[in-house]
Symmetry: D2
């Protein structure tokens, strides 16, 4: 699939500040950036660096009080795999996990899986295979947590959401991750551009490591899950925020979009196809 | 029913300290203290005072580092009512509540009902009458929270228990209260001596205000609910702790007991008799 | 002192709902309501009831989806006492407290004093007399917590504020109360109309029980502390909210005011007069 | 310096479980393992893997209920540097940080730096250079938090410690890390064997990234800071627990030791030498 994505963010900066942005499409085996352009007005020196998993960070230092705008556009080709097979039938074998997957078993800032083990085991522990467990987790969140714009803030965590039962995509993702890890299933945060998201915005979802692959889940069910362009992965939003800001600034404008370039986009949702999981690789 | 109850507590006191004890049987319309004795070794001046709802407090000031023991025994006659009738069929009408019941609608230290409204409404909101709602709450707690000695401490609250899913009688009571209040049903904490509690200890349960009466619930199901001698009511354990201590002390011994004096004690449990609620008055 | 106060609140009601309002001036020994008027449009039956400490509640039941407005105006005469004397020099003697003051020693929903004992003892424990301790608490809050409109919400508690260090008048009051109780000084929440508060709004402060009297403190220092008309006291905002609402509604308008009628208002602030505490009785 | 270190841990395993241990001395440029031996009784297959920063993990799968013991001994040579120089005089320049240091700026499970920014800025923001800031943080923790065995548990975080003001080495380290990150100074968790720690145990401290180096801090002041053998670094204890256990087990024995082999160990403490920071490399 090919998508055209863009984001525009505008900031007022009150004192010398550093920004770390995650807005560029990730470069992975399954996702290719065909074209892209990044502009800043006024011009600043940007520094780019990558994490191991393909996430691309932009670092920008602003020395003086100023207003600036950052603008990203890209055409991205994504390939996903639908996995119908046996591997999804098993259970996580921690002793077989690659070393780099291990950290995704541990609790993190917004995903206090250590506190949710009894709840997760009670609700989902009896389900036999890992893929079915994570589908059940995502279904449970969809059915029990209300999607409510403005109900949470940047310090809201999975532990808040499990009791307060309202949140936005970020909170749905954090709770999904926390419940997976509470069952010893590695899980990570996923941010991206999302086709058909209404109103348009950055989107947050999660991936669970099942049968040696990162399977994709979206407990909000707001979009077809095959319409995403990955920006970043991380343990949770602390690692993969759209903008991590060190200083004093105010974001006064944000505009995000994602369009399918091909005509033949066929929505795919795991909740209609319980046998087949989707993997962005 | 007649019960013989006793409690012995022993403290090491390291600096001038004040104790407020709730260990005496409450004097209410439905509970009569037939005999009682209170001793302290060495002797201290005790001051007694009562709250409006019949709870009896003992205040004791210790000026010097010392070890002391407090000992209470009583024979208490309790009368409870089984309510099978129509009043239980309705829903709480806040506009009809007496003024003194209103505070039991509000959140308190260990019962953050304000944060559990969505969860409570989702799980129990569809149940028609209030008594059935509270039975469902107590059943849900019994089925979803593990009774686990030592798993919690004096700062554990309903908000912790709803996510961590383990606790002791106090935590079961707090969660019951919080879920009731989240549905606009007044609820209060109840402490007492409990017949057949094993191991013997002070017990904590809760009462919900339904059809103009305080109905009794015990989500732990550890005891027959008609075997209690009430010590205190309060909004939660902050109001009705066995001992509130201001100073520096250590409790090095505690021994509690409750025996039925009559031979004909017939256990009653609302969970076996869903039509009939029990009220201590 | 005489003040003219008013408040107007307007609500959209979506389903049958019950409101409990605290907007009327309290009737106490030291505060007299000279005139008052309460109107509701459209007309509803209101029920009034009082708590023991003079707080006046209004209960209003709305059966149908509707918009309504409640309007209160009053002329109130207040008398306060400035206490310069010896009683303020001592320390709280719990064994001498009246029974009705005891509950104000215990932790409550927004004032988790049980968790702040070490902090309070470290910061303020070495100060000799209770009045000086509470002045130090209010000064510390003023100096260490940022007054920031919109930084908190209705579930923010003293435990949040002690770490996050920002809040509004309600949060300043809760933290003051929690720190007092952590030192075994009874403390309670105070809401009222406040002269010279800018922008005009309901105001929240706290009172500490020292030398047998409730002394008044305002850690925000936003107003002269002798310009208040008391509405309610309570353990914290859970007891004394302007509006406790059971149902589904939205407040779409609020307007509050307080003017001195006498010409000779002389602002008094304990922080300029460390020897003299103010008591509304 | 040369140290002989050992640890013995014994577990009861109730169901198939996986263990990830961090008990081996790290292999870094500045730390050499001269000898080491690892034994398990009964014998199990262990799998070893390393993180990028030299931390060595041991993964062990236990299929059946069993009791087992793991035993590690090593002779380790450590080299540390004392840094007296100019680099410590500057402030963190986020725009110059290496990509792999960036994650240590972000909040993590036990270090909610996002919630402590106002507090950290108020207390330490006015101090000019980063090294002096972190020394002030460690001093503040030493002076304001009580070291109290058994006061906390595995879910205690920096946010708890900032209000409750008691904890063990792990809590002191988490609070140090959180306060550094709140000031945009990268900080990480450090676990190791500690010479002269009494009673002997694993020890937890923290490192802050200053002038391009990881400087070592121990807010507990329980040991000379040049007597450590590093086991692991991580964002916090979630990454670097002595044992992360997936399953149902009970640790019934733990014994840890660290002895200096050289006779000439001269204790070094940054709090006596405020000009010189210590770096383990």
């Amino acid at each position: 699939m090919k998508f055209k994505v863009f984001s525009e963010l505008s900031y007022e900066v009150y004192m010398p500040s550093t920004f770390i942005f995650n807005i560029e499409g990730a470069k992975t085996v399954n996702q290719t950036i065909l074209e892209e352009a990044l502009t800043i007005e006024p011009q600043f020196k940007l520094e780019a660096f990558n994490s191991q998993n393909g996430t691309r960070f932009l670092r920008l230092e602003v020395d003086n009080p100023i207003n600036f705008k950052i603008n990203y556009t890209a055409i991205v080709e994504t390939n996903y795999i639908i996995i119908n097979e046996r591997p999804l039938r098993g259970e996580a074998i921690i002793s077989k996990l690659d070393a780099e997957v291990i950290p995704y078993l541990f609790p993190s800032r917004y995903c206090q899986s250590d506190k949710l083990q009894r709840l997760a085991t009670k609700e989902f522990g009896g389900i036999m295979d890992d893929y079915a467990k994570v589908v059940a987790i995502a279904d449970w969140i969809f059915n029990n947590v209300e999607y409510l714009s403005g109900s949470t803030n940047s310090s809201t965590s999975a532990l808040d959401t499990i009791s307060e039962r309202a949140g936005v995509c970020r909170d749905f993702a954090h709770l999904g991750i926390a419940l997976c890890r509470a069952l010893s299933i590695p899980a990570r945060y996923f941010t991206g551009y999302a086709f058909k998201l209404n109103p348009p915005d950055f989107h947050a979802c999660f991936e669970a490591y099942i049968g040696g692959k990162w399977l994709f889940f979206d407990a909000t069910r707001l979009i077809p899950i095959n319409g995403l362009v990955k920006i970043a992965n991380g343990r949770d939003a602390a690692d993969a925020a759209v903008a991590s800001i060190f200083g004093s600034t105010f974001c006064n404008y944000i505009n995000v979009g994602c369009q399918a370039i091909d005509d033949d986009f066929k929505p795919y949702n795991y909740w209609d196809n319980k046998e087949g999981g989707l993997c962005y690789g």
